[in-house]
């Protein structure tokens, strides 16, 4: 008894010290807040002291633009060649020559592409997957989205190989040179993944103009990080014995990498490829703002004109494309992980690749047929149907019958929740925030973390973006909070019942592959533009990790421990509160962290539906092609994400260390 008492004393003392420290800190910040008439400089960052970082960045970008236009132009030209080929092949037809003697070579026939998609699905995952993938393509064709969808697909098909090759080489380099990984690659990857998608578009727009090429470059940059990470992870997880074996077999360094290590790491690499494809799809949609065209552009136009029906249709086509690409690439990754089934090596191409040959033959035949039968070249109007009027009617019906209810809900939410929180956040003294976050950083991760967190927060203030930063924090915070309130209980239920899990898993899997754009459309239909719409769309987008990690964390508590708890006479409630929850908490917090980051990414995109935060700042900068303003706002957003991420990770690491 004395032993436990003394250890608990030793444990609780530092906690009590921190309690006192936090009480003092909060009191100090409160004092600043109350004395804001005298200490105005500590509450609102003085306008005179704003550092014009945005102007500097603009000047730099202009310098690059005017001095390196030869470079950007040749890059555009070089990348334009394969891109045009892909777009022509899938969507636009080849036009050779000009005027009267122009020869038009047709694009691939939609019938052929649908059948090829079916064959690819069947080869990778059997009849079921074939039907799903072929069905998704057929859906796109029948709903009249074919050309747009193929434009999107063409961009992806060029951007993805580029991402994979680049990611592979950068990953290999980072794996070979630990210093490069620590000093260069890891921070760059963190930044690349937290900078909002919008912010990528601005410099691309400036350097490469409003064209599919700049959209493709933006996509390539955005979608590469997971491949780098997958390469690093895969290579570091190759068993050391396999490494030793390659040495003992007398491999040169190159043989070792290409013939032993990379093939052994293939399962991890294929996971990276899947993520690259999904991120590329997400980005191509957003990059429609700088000329990518395709489905994203359709959504954008429809949203701007508030044509919800059309937006919904294009959005659903994106969903179909996303599901087809995701399931197909996952099935291929799984097949690779299992290795191939033995086949006799036979000399003829047809025997070796029966599906590929069949697909090529069908594409060729249907495309040729398209020259004579128009129904093969373009989807005939007669068999397409549109659901736009249906959606429109549905929305009108809801608006007519439920307008009062929805409006009352909306107004109540704004008046009672959103506005007070917003006022509190925007009035929060910037110096106090720097101080409190720094203190949290010090408690969780020592001096270095404290310095990092404080410096990033200071950046948001000195660039004059403090108010907008806090507006972002407020909306993101509320959305993430509600997402957790919804997601954690669902995860809890899923962890307790296999039936619930079976229902929940496919839903969150699907939610996860949808490009962020798609979440806005149905919400806008009901709640029109504004903070409420942004919040609801963000919650729907960000709820997935909260569910997934909670479920996973609780399920991976070792059964032996739960049995031990039962044997020592715990009730169900005690078992949960004293055994399962503490053990699963680090994992759950990881989910909360992910939820916050996803909410942040989504809030920025919600600038399209009229929020007044950093996202709007980037959005305005984009429409004005003001690179400095956009990049600085983008960095501020990234820094919010990095501060949250580092604090949560430090906390989780501490909790993990305590649990051993």
């Amino acid at each position: 008894m004395t032993v436990t008492a003394s250890t608990s004393d030793a444990r609780s003392r530092p906690v009590q010290i921190w309690l006192v420290v936090w009480a003092c800190a909060l009191a100090a910040v409160l004092a600043v807040f109350l004395l804001q008439d005298r200490l105005a400089w500590a509450v609102n960052y003085p306008a005179g002291a704003i550092v014009p970082v945005a102007d500097w960045v603009s000047a730099l970008m202009n310098l690059i633009k005017s001095n390196f236009s030869w470079l950007t132009r040749s890059i555009t030209a070089a990348l334009g060649v394969p891109l045009d080929f892909a777009l022509n092949l899938l969507a636009k037809n080849f036009k050779i020559g000009r005027g009267a003697d122009m020869i038009i070579l047709p694009r691939l026939s939609w019938v052929g592409v649908c059948i090829a998609a079916f064959l690819a699905g069947r080869a990778a995952g059997g009849w079921k997957l074939g039907a799903l993938v072929g069905g998704c393509f057929l859906y796109i064709a029948l709903f009249g989205q074919w050309t747009s969808a193929m434009l999107t697909l063409g961009l992806i098909s060029i951007a993805v190989p580029f991402c994979i090759v680049t990611g592979l080489f950068v990953g290999i380099w980072a794996w070979r040179k630990p210093w490069a990984e620590r000093l260069l690659i890891s921070p760059a990857l963190d930044l690349m993944q937290t900078i909002p998608t919008f912010a990528y578009l601005i410099p691309m727009l400036l350097l490469f103009g409003n064209s599919p090429v700049s959209a493709m470059i933006a996509t390539a940059i955005f979608a590469t990080p997971p491949m780098v990470r997958a390469t690093m992870l895969g290579l570091s997880r190759v068993p050391s014995e396999i490494d030793d074996f390659s040495e003992m077999a007398g491999c040169t360094a190159r043989q070792k990498l290409w013939r032993v290590l990379l093939p052994s790491a293939r399962p991890a690499l294929m996971v990276g490829v899947n993520q690259v494809i999904m991120l590329a799809l997400n980005m191509v949609i957003i990059a429609s703002m700088i000329g990518a065209g395709g489905l994203g552009y359709d959504v954008l136009l429809a949203l701007r004109a508030l044509k919800v029906g059309e937006a919904m249709e294009a959005g659903l086509a994106i969903v179909a494309l996303a599901i087809a690409l995701d399931r197909l690439s996952q099935a291929i990754a799984r097949n690779h992980a299992q290795g191939h089934v033995y086949q006799m090596v036979s000399p003829s191409f047809w025997r070796r690749y029966p599906n590929l040959t069949l697909a090529i033959a069908i594409l060729a035949v249907t495309t040729l047929l398209g020259l004579f039968v128009p129904a093969f070249a373009a989807v005939p109007k007669a068999i397409t149907f549109t659901t736009a009027p249906m959606w429109k009617t549905a929305v009108s019906w809801i608006t007519i019958n439920f307008f009062d209810t929805i409006e009352a809900f909306r107004v109540a939410l704004i008046l009672n929740v959103l506005n007070p929180v917003r006022a509190f956040c925007e009035g929060f003294p910037w110096l106090g925030a720097v101080f409190l976050l720094g203190l949290a950083g010090y408690q969780l991760g020592g001096l270095r973390l404290a310095a990092l967190v404080a410096a990033l927060t200071v950046f948001c203030a000195v660039t004059g973006l403090w108010e907008k930063t806090m507006a972002t924090v407020y909306l993101c915070g509320i959305s993430a909070f509600i997402a957790c309130l919804i997601g954690i209980p669902i995860g809890l239920m899923a962890s307790r019942s296999d039936r619930v899990e079976k229902v929940v898993t496919p839903i969150i899997d699907t939610l996860q592959v949808l490009p962020s754009f798609c979440f806005i459309i149905p919400v806008v239909m009901l709640f029109r533009v504004g903070d409420v719409t942004a919040m609801i769309a963000t919650i729907a987008f960000a709820v997935v990790p909260a569910i997934r990690y909670t479920n996973h964390g609780l399920r991976q508590v070792p059964p032996a421990l739960i049995e031990a708890a039962k044997v020592s006479g715990c009730t169900k409630r005690q078992t949960f509160l004293r055994v399962q929850l503490p053990l699963a908490l680090p994992e759950i917090m990881l989910g909360v962290n992910q939820t916050i980051l996803m909410a942040l990414a989504m809030i920025i995109i919600c600038a399209m539906v009229g929020t007044r935060d950093l996202g709007q700042e980037v959005f305005i900068a984009l429409s004005k092609a003001d690179s400095g303003r956009g990049i600085v706002a983008g960095l501020a957003i990234a820094f919010i994400g990095i501060v949250a991420d580092r604090l949560f990770n430090a906390w989780t690491a501490k909790a993990r260390a305590r649990l051993g």
């Binding site: 030793d244 003992m248 077999a249 007398g250 013939r259 093939p263």
Partner: protein, 361 residues
């Protein structure tokens, strides 16, 4: 009795001394930690365990001297963490020793160029791993042919050789299976075949059977003995299993905390354990299978003999007949001349585990 025990190391050692030294370690050290190389150089290649620990270093291999002769099965035995795996990696330069000399056929292995090392590993060294280390994306045939492909051999040549070794290890019919489709024992047969494909002279086996079930392990040990009678490789075999060591070894080096504490034939270790630690291992060994007539014999005292045995015959091979005969057996050398005798009582004592003063050392 003193004369008989003195004979043991000599007698067991003599025939092997004629064989050339294939691989040798001289004062090999592997220390982990900052400035480990300076630390050991400044001390002239000698340091106690306490000194190593005080410098904040971890001594994985300390002051190891050993010589491995051509064609022998040399076993390095130690519990986990004793440094045996690190030592074998120092011998093949998978791990760079911190200090000391590793000689391969008299040449300093640590001084040769990278290109020469690659050449050496491609043609003269082979290694088998505890967890098989098969490449998951290649089938059995491709895995076995892989080291030959690395050397640049064309496909027909290397597949022909691969089929030969597949035959040798009894895997015919499984050429096109993938590693995950095979049982552990079969996977290790692939590992063995792969390491033999290049016809290595020295063969490193790093706990090759430790990941296998006891029954399979025994089967694989027999398989190894069968292969060795055909191939006569120089084998360096790592194990933590003393029974396995006794079964297979010509000589055993016992390691503890990075040091080799005794090198000898199984019989020498059983009869003359250098420390209590070694004695602890040998206690449960079936002595009749390890100890030979030579260790048990005494000078003839003129009684009638019930039979003859060779000096190297293990007691277990004649224990039943000597006990039923009830008379001492004469121990005769190659030319048929008696050099001593073994009494039934000595054999019974040995079988019963009774130690009589002077009966054995």
């Amino acid at each position: 009795m003193a004369d008989t025990t003195d004979q043991v190391p000599q007698a067991a050692g003599t025939p092997k001394d004629a064989r050339p030294i294939k691989l040798a370690c001289y004062n090999v050290w592997k220390l982990f930690g900052a400035n480990a190389a300076n630390f050991i150089r400044q001390r002239g290649g000698a340091a106690t365990m306490a000194e190593v620990a005080a410098a904040g270093l971890v001594g994985a291999v300390r002051a190891v001297d050993l010589e491995i002769r051509q064609g022998e099965i040399f076993i390095i035995m130690g519990l986990s963490g004793s440094g045996k795996s690190t030592l074998v990696r120092c011998m093949s330069r998978l791990v760079e020793p911190t200090h000391g000399k590793v000689e391969f056929e008299g040449k300093d292995l640590l001084k040769i160029s990278d290109a020469a090392l690659i050449e050496l590993r491609r043609h003269r060294m082979g290694m088998v791993f505890q967890n098989f280390a098969l490449l998951p994306h290649l089938n059995v045939l491709e895995n076995i042919a892989f080291p030959l492909g690395i050397q640049g051999q064309d496909r027909p040549t290397r597949e022909k050789r691969a089929r030969e070794v597949i035959e040798l290890v009894g895997l015919r019919g499984r050429e096109h299976f993938y590693p995950r489709e095979l049982s552990g024992g079969q996977q290790q047969r692939v590992g063995i075949a792969r390491s033999l494909a290049t016809k290595p002279e020295i063969w490193f086996l790093d706990e090759p059977f430790s990941a296998l079930d006891p029954l399979i392990r025994r089967e694989m040990q027999d398989e190894l003995m069968r292969l060795q009678t055909m191939l006569h490789k120089t084998i360096v075999f790592i194990t933590h299993d003393f029974d396995e060591a006794i079964r297979l070894a010509d000589r055993i080096a016992i390691m503890k905390d990075g040091e080799v504490i005794q090198i000898g034939t199984p019989e020498e270790l059983v009869v003359n354990p250098a420390t209590d630690y070694v004695a602890e291992f040998t206690r449960d060994v079936d002595r009749a299978k390890v100890i030979s007539a030579r260790s048990l014999m005494r000078a003839c005292d003129g009684t009638e003999h019930g039979g003859v045995v060779a000096p190297d015959a293990k007691i277990s091979t004649f224990s039943a007949s000597i006990v039923s005969a009830g008379k001492p057996f004469a121990v005769v050398n190659g030319s048929g001349k008696p050099i001593g005798e073994v009494t039934p009582q000595a054999v019974i004592d040995l079988l019963a585990g009774i130690e009589r003063p002077g009966a054995s050392a």
